[in-house]
């Protein structure tokens, strides 16, 4: 069966520090991968999606970037975090069907 992992589960970082969040999927090949951010009590904002290795589509211009170095690995990064980057980050995958499967999320607090 397929599983999706995200780490870390929680993260507290100072403003201006770098960020690296990782998402990996097991049990499937060539998934479409997605990064979402969710502010407290709000809906999901799509940040990036990828249909293959090295292929990244950005939905929102900001100080975040994404990379897909391997088929089942999706990384969200920032060189310098802002206070507004705080939120709940969710990774999701699909294999061409319409249903998306979500990871457990990473709670990021920028102080």
């Amino acid at each position: 069966s397929q599983t999706i992992h995200q780490w870390p589960a929680t993260l507290v970082q100072p403003v201006g520090s770098p960020l690296s969040l990782e998402c990996t999927v097991e049990g499937t090949s060539n998934p479409n991968l997605y990064w979402y951010r969710q502010a407290a009590g709000r809906g999901l904002q799509l940040l990036f999606y990828s249909v293959g290795i090295g292929q990244i589509s950005s939905e929102v211009p900001q100080n975040l970037s994404a990379s897909r170095p391997q088929d089942r690995q999706f990384i969200l990064s920032s060189k310098k975090l802002l206070l507004s980057d705080s939120g709940f980050y969710l990774c999701a995958w699909t294999t061409g069907g319409d249903t998306q499967y979500f990871g457990p999320g990473t709670r990021l607090t920028v102080l």
């Binding site: 999606y49 999701a92 061409g96 998306q100 457990p104």
Partner: protein, 112 residues
């Protein structure tokens, strides 16, 4: 841009009552999906209804779709405290790789 909008934003009911949440969307769709999110967790897919379907059931869940009104409803019957969560509708703007677009969700509280 926001595709689905859930209504109400928040709903509080007693255990055993039915909970109804609505979703409106703007453009033509191939399907509409409902997801559930427990506090601090990832989203879990509940049910998918295709554009040629009008109603679908899964356990205590009943979903309807009215493409003429561009709306859907999610009914949870005989609610339980464990149903307390946020519920989101989502639609694919286009087929293939285009990501789902999620609404802002309905926060359901079921009081024991």
């Amino acid at each position: 841009s926001q595709q689905g909008e859930e209504d109400p934003q928040a709903l509080s009911i007693q255990e055993g009552e039915n909970a109804t949440m609505n979703c409106s969307y703007k453009t033509s769709i191939n399907n509409l999906q409902w997801y559930r999110q427990n506090s601090g967790r990832g989203l879990v897919h509940l049910i998918l209804i295709r554009s040629n379907e009008r109603e679908k059931h899964s356990g205590r869940l009943r979903v309807t779709l009215d493409t003429s009104k561009k709306s859907s409803s999610l009914l949870i019957t005989a609610s339980r405290a464990a149903d307390t969560a946020s519920y989101f509708c989502a639609t694919p703007p286009n087929s293939g790789n285009t990501p789902l677009v999620f609404g802002k969700g309905t926060r359901l509280s079921v009081i024991a």
